[in-house]
Amino acid sequence: MTQHLLILPILLPFLTGALLLFSSEARHGWRALFALFATLAQLAVALALLAGIDGWIATPWQGGVTVYALGNWAAPFGIVLVADHLATLMLTLTSIVGLATLVYALARWEHAGSHFLPLFQFLLMGLNGTFLTGDLFNLFVFFEVLLAASYGLALHASGVPRVKTGLHYIVVNLVASLVFLVAAALIYGVTGTLNMAEIALAVPRLDADARALFEIGALLLGIVFLVKAGAWPLNFWLPATYAAATPPVGAVFAILTKVGVYALLRFSILFGQDVAPAPFKGDWLFFCGLATIAVGTLGVLAAQKLDRLGGFMVVVSSGTLLAAFGFTGTTLTAPALYYLASSVLGSGAFFMLIELAERNRTAAADLLAISFEAFGLQDRHELEHPGEMAGVAIPAAMAFLGLAFFSCAAVLSGLPPLSGFVAKFALLKAAIAAPPVAPALNAGLLFTALLLSGLAALIALSRLGIRVFWDSERPTPRLQWLEAGPVAALVLLCFALAFGAGPAMAYFDAAARALHDPATYIGVVLSGGRP
């Protein structure tokens, strides 16, 4: 029975989304409850997988890797799903952020357009599938599933800025998808397989001509992942799109860039640490990451509005991860995974928080009103009293917002005592310990980049924070529990990640160890999960 657990993260959102698509929008309460329940179930499945992989509960899985053969076709012939430490970590992060944003969206934003709930479930399905799949072309298909859903979500609630940035977003990602297809075809053409584990075995056996073609294919694949990850100079679409998207969508998009980072990491190790082509590793990736941090930092300093600031913070965190993975040696992988978890939770909370804080800005209210009109979905009393909402408003809204903003700022800029600090500290410690094998110059550059980007984030966040929170002209926003709850939950998780840094780091260490031991992964996949 337990072996079927692995298909659930894909099947659950798929069926939920399909059912929601065909149920009438009039039954609003039931739909919301159903979506909520399904997302909770996904979280439970992800946690069960996490516990199984890490050995907390007894399972027949070995070596921390488990394989699910779709249609019971063994590995090189059929498509397999593979779960290991990294994949389950990403699954868990996805469902946590997904659940938080779903609850948040139910309070208000879900009504701002049509089909939010099904699209959201399809996005989760695409994300889960991307993390689980062990097949190159299947990876492309899940990329398309999550991108198609994200196009719809980016345009949710419509409005001129969203359609304008959405158009750029869609075109950039369509081109990236075409490049992905060329890359997959080239790799298939020379290796004769699409199974990721078998590609890893086939690469060292290629002769010089085929090797050159493979390198071109891998290069194109790397470029696609760098586009998804938002690496400079392929990220001009990112801040505008993230800023224009509705807040819950922005929050769940925080994990979308991490998909590119995840894929880069996975393939760099499968292609072989020493022989992987340029975009996947080494100085090339390291300096690309540094450039991304630099551009993101400049953007953070220049941002005039909190939502654009959030977009650039995502760029900075992508850059940090790329630089860490490009750094010589493997010691930075575990701290980088910790940083990934912390930054996903932090930026997810931040995107939701800024909308709460800026709620009374008239421009946003106008935009919302327009989209309500465009979709003809408005509640009559909501139009009459746009400021007043159903549900119980929580007391001391300003105090809550201030505290949450401070915590998010601490996580994103890397101040103690929150998880952002632990993550940056661990990264820097590993970088300092590295110089015997890594050039001291690189360690110094990473050190400078991390500290400067943290300082810039702190300056920008406090400047904009003062403008938002110490403005006596601004009326106090009314908050609902449904909206404040998810933000508080994500912030509390950052606290938990910081105070439980020991056990968390142990897991990330195990993940890094498993990741840098591709032989186990390949062995388990190609033997069909049997001992």
Binding site: V163, I170, L174, L181
Partner: protein, 115 residues
């Protein structure tokens, strides 16, 4: 045959990229379509070009793999066509929405200033 095939892919990809870089949304979508044709042909070509070889095993012929074309790239092309078609349709809707909302078919949603 290979040369003709390669030139066809090259011409389509080249025209596609040129159109993709044009400022009007209609040109962009035409460019994307041409580019996706080129990519589909390219995937097809990755199975090595063969004449008179079916990708499906025929009961009346022997099961020798040399008699058949590689079926995997053909399956990939089918998937790619379906996905490409769906996403192009979606882009078309967004394009129309952008035209309606901004009143211009420029990709940036506003006309460049006249010099």
């Amino acid at each position: 045959m290979e040369v003709v095939f390669a030139i066809a892919i090259g011409v389509m990809a080249g025209s596609g990229i040129y159109l993709l870089l044009r400022p009007r949304t209609f040109q962009v979508i035409m460019g994307l379509s041409l580019l996706s044709y080129a990519v589909n042909l390219f995937i097809f070509g990755m199975a090595r070009l063969r004449i008179g070889a079916a990708p499906v095993i025929d009961a009346t012929r022997s099961a020798d793999p040399a008699l058949y074309a590689d079926p995997v790239p053909q399956a990939l092309v089918l998937t790619a066509i379906v996905i490409g078609f769906a996403v192009t349709a979606l882009l078309l809707v967004v394009l129309l929405a952008a035209r309606g909302l901004s009143g211009t078919d420029h990709v940036d949603g506003r006309e460049p200033e006249q010099e």
